[in-house]
């Protein structure tokens, strides 16, 4: 506060005090008056024989260190240590065998810790380089996982409704061979083949339709129609047509991915500037050369758009199609049978694999896009 008196630019009350910290401190102080949880039906307070006071002291020290750090970023790291310590407290209490569902003191304390994390993230998001591009999203994801774990275990949510992430991870480990077989069947066989066929066909037909105007006129309205076709309607039909194995899954994926690729490629081919086309013409370049040297490169951002949309569509298509018949392996098969057997842990593990696969594919394509279209205005240097 002394700074507020000496610094002529800090005149208003708004900037004189660290109101963010005050907002964090208020729920934390209120939390001290409330119980942390209960043991054998009796409420347990902050000083009820657990190591909670040590956590509290640790957090307070971290906040003080954060306030007095010479640089705001260092302060943020100290505060982050405090946040980590605060979120470890419920794990300690669970170890002690406490029931946290009525521990409003603890929950308020965690609210305060989350507000503190907000502050930390606000600072770190302003630091260029790896901190901003990797650490901040990483911390965000980790925070969600920890919050999920603590809430589910603290409020004793039945695992059948929502298991904690640790249990999903354990199921992943325990069923790794089965999950790997499913992954191989669904992703490495059905999705990859269907994706390549669907995107390839969409791309080639788009090039043809670009050359033959009536094709484009006829196909584009069909694209809208096709995008409205429900997968659950088309999947059983494809299974009847192409059998139980990967062919029917690939067919569903082709139906789902063909038009997005077609439409994006057509849009991309129309993306060349008139003056660039004039340039090619004025140097006597024919259709083929103009396509290869000018139109396809300038269509790349659109092509990647189509490929990225299709990467998630393909995975969804394959999994849904497997609901309607498959050899006894595959992610969709696993989900449908294990749900019926109330074996939800492995269902969640499969969902996790699917989510990771989907974002992995998407991420790989985004990376490739970054490498190949660095010239595009949308790819600004950081």
């Amino acid at each position: 506060m002394s700074e507020a008196m000496t610094n002529p630019y800090r005149t208003s009350l708004r900037s004189a005090a660290d109101w963010g910290l005050v907002a964090v401190a208020l729920p934390a102080l209120a939390a001290l008056a409330l119980p942390l949880g209960s043991q054998d039906g009796a409420p347990v307070g902050w000083f009820g024989g657990t190591m909670a006071p040590l956590f509290l002291i640790g957090v307070v020290l971290a906040v003080i260190a954060g306030r007095s750090a010479p640089k705001r970023v260092w302060g943020a790291w100290a505060e982050l240590a405090g946040v980590t310590l605060a979120w470890l407290l419920p794990f300690h209490l669970l170890e002690e065998g406490m029931d946290l569902s009525a521990g409003w003191g603890l929950w308020l304390f965690l609210v305060a810790a989350t507000l503190l994390l907000w502050r930390v993230m606000g600072v770190l998001a302003g630091v260029p380089g790896w901190t901003r591009s990797v650490i901040v999203p990483g911390l965000f994801g980790l925070g969600l996982l920890v919050g999920w774990e603590v809430l589910v275990r603290g409020f004793q949510v039945p695992a059948i409704l929502l298991p904690p992430p640790s249990r999903i991870a354990a199921a992943l480990g325990a069923n790794a061979p089965v999950l790997w077989d499913d992954f191989r069947q669904t992703v490495l066989t059905s999705v990859l083949r269907g994706y390549v066929m669907g995107c390839g066909a969409g791309f080639l037909v788009a090039i043809l339709a670009d050359r033959v105007p009536f094709l484009a006129r006829g196909l584009l309205p069909l694209g809208n129609l096709a995008s409205a076709i429900p997968v659950v309607g088309i999947a059983p039909i494809m299974v009847m047509w192409f059998g139980f194995d990967w062919q029917s899954k690939a067919a569903v994926i082709v139906v789902m991915t063909f038009f997005p690729m077609l439409i994006n490629t057509l849009a991309g081919l129309g993306n060349s500037e008139r003056i660039q086309l004039d340039l090619m013409r004025s140097y006597g370049a024919g259709y083929g050369r103009t396509l290869v040297k000018l139109r396809l490169p300038s269509a790349l951002p659109f092509l990647f758009n189509g490929l990225k949309i299709n990467s998630t569509l393909a995975l969804i298509g394959a999994i849904v199609a497997e609901f309607f018949g498959t050899p006894v392996v595959g992610m969709g098969f696993r989900i449908s049978t294990e749900v019926a057997r109330m074996n939800l842990d492995i269902v969640w593990a499969t969902i996790a694999v699917a989510a990771l696969t989907g974002s992995g594919l998407y991420g790989a394509l985004a990376l490739l896009e970054r490498l190949t279209t660095a010239w595009h205005p949308s790819m600004r240097r950081r």
Binding site: I275, S282, Y283, W375
Partner: protein, 257 residues
């Protein structure tokens, strides 16, 4: 190379943009074409370059093509028309790629283009990393790499700021001092016409007809000298007088439409 245009008319649907153009460009001559916007200047250039087919009339080129010329009639564009994913070097090489050239010759042509335009140190830069003036220098280097017999310039300096425009005009003067390349130079800027052209063709408002062909007597190299200023001022007044009337009428027609 000479360009002979006779009784050239061009229509886009009902809209006549060029009407009865007769024009001859002598070997090594630089002809500036000026006129109000929409008068068909760029269309005339497109027809001369063979990328627009005229509705009627004839257009011919005659004469010798210099040694090593790959694309006799070559454009320089207002918005540079660079391919943003290619480096400076590769943009220049683009127009050489569909000619059977030895690697050494291709390299030599690219290098000499880079050197003449002072771009050697930017050879690996992408267009987005360059200023407007530098980008147009790449466009010029690309045009020179094919050793053209005739240049068609479509407002090549209009997208640039005043200082860059001066610098590039010097580059053009240097270019034409070394090589007698015939050029059709479309512009709406009188100063560019007065600095660079041998003759100035004033087009009327749409449909574009030739209002007048004005010859600038003073040789290009001497136009900066004090003794030339009286003549240039006279030409300038004359051109401005012609242009002003057309531009005003064109404006009124746009307002009425």
């Amino acid at each position: 190379m000479r360009l002979l245009v006779s009784d050239l008319t061009h229509r886009y649907d009902d809209l006549t943009v060029l009407d009865g153009i007769d024009l001859t460009l002598a070997e090594g001559e630089i002809l500036a074409v000026i006129g109000p916007s929409g008068c068909g200047k760029s269309t005339l250039l497109g027809i001369a370059g063979g990328i627009v087919a005229p509705t009627s009339g004839s257009i011919r080129v005659e004469g010798e093509v210099p040694d090593g010329c790959l694309n006799p009639i070559t454009f320089i564009f207002q918005d540079f028309a660079l391919l943003p994913w290619r480096t400076v070097e590769d943009n220049i090489a683009l127009v050489l790629e569909h000619h059977r050239l030895s690697t050494a010759e291709r390299r030599e042509r690219v290098d000499s283009g880079l050197r003449r335009m002072g771009l050697s140190e930017f050879r690996n830069a992408l267009p987005k990393q360059l200023s407007g003036g530098m980008r147009q220098r790449v466009g010029i280097a690309r045009a020179l790499a094919v050793r053209p017999a005739m240049l068609l310039l479509d407002e090549p300096l209009s997208a640039l700021d005043a200082q860059t425009r001066e610098l590039l005009m010097d580059d053009f003067l240097e270019l034409w001092r070394r090589e007698k390349t015939t050029a059709l130079y479309v512009t709406h800027n009188l100063d560019e016409a007065l600095r660079l052209a041998d003759r100035v063709c004033v087009l009327s408002r749409r449909p574009g007809r030739i209002r007048e062909l004005v010859t600038i007597e003073e040789p290009r190299e001497r136009r900066q000298e004090p003794s030339a200023q009286a003549h240039l001022a006279e030409v300038r007044d004359r051109l401005w007088h012609l242009m002003k009337a057309e531009a005003q009428m064109a404006d009124r027609e746009i307002a009425r439409a």
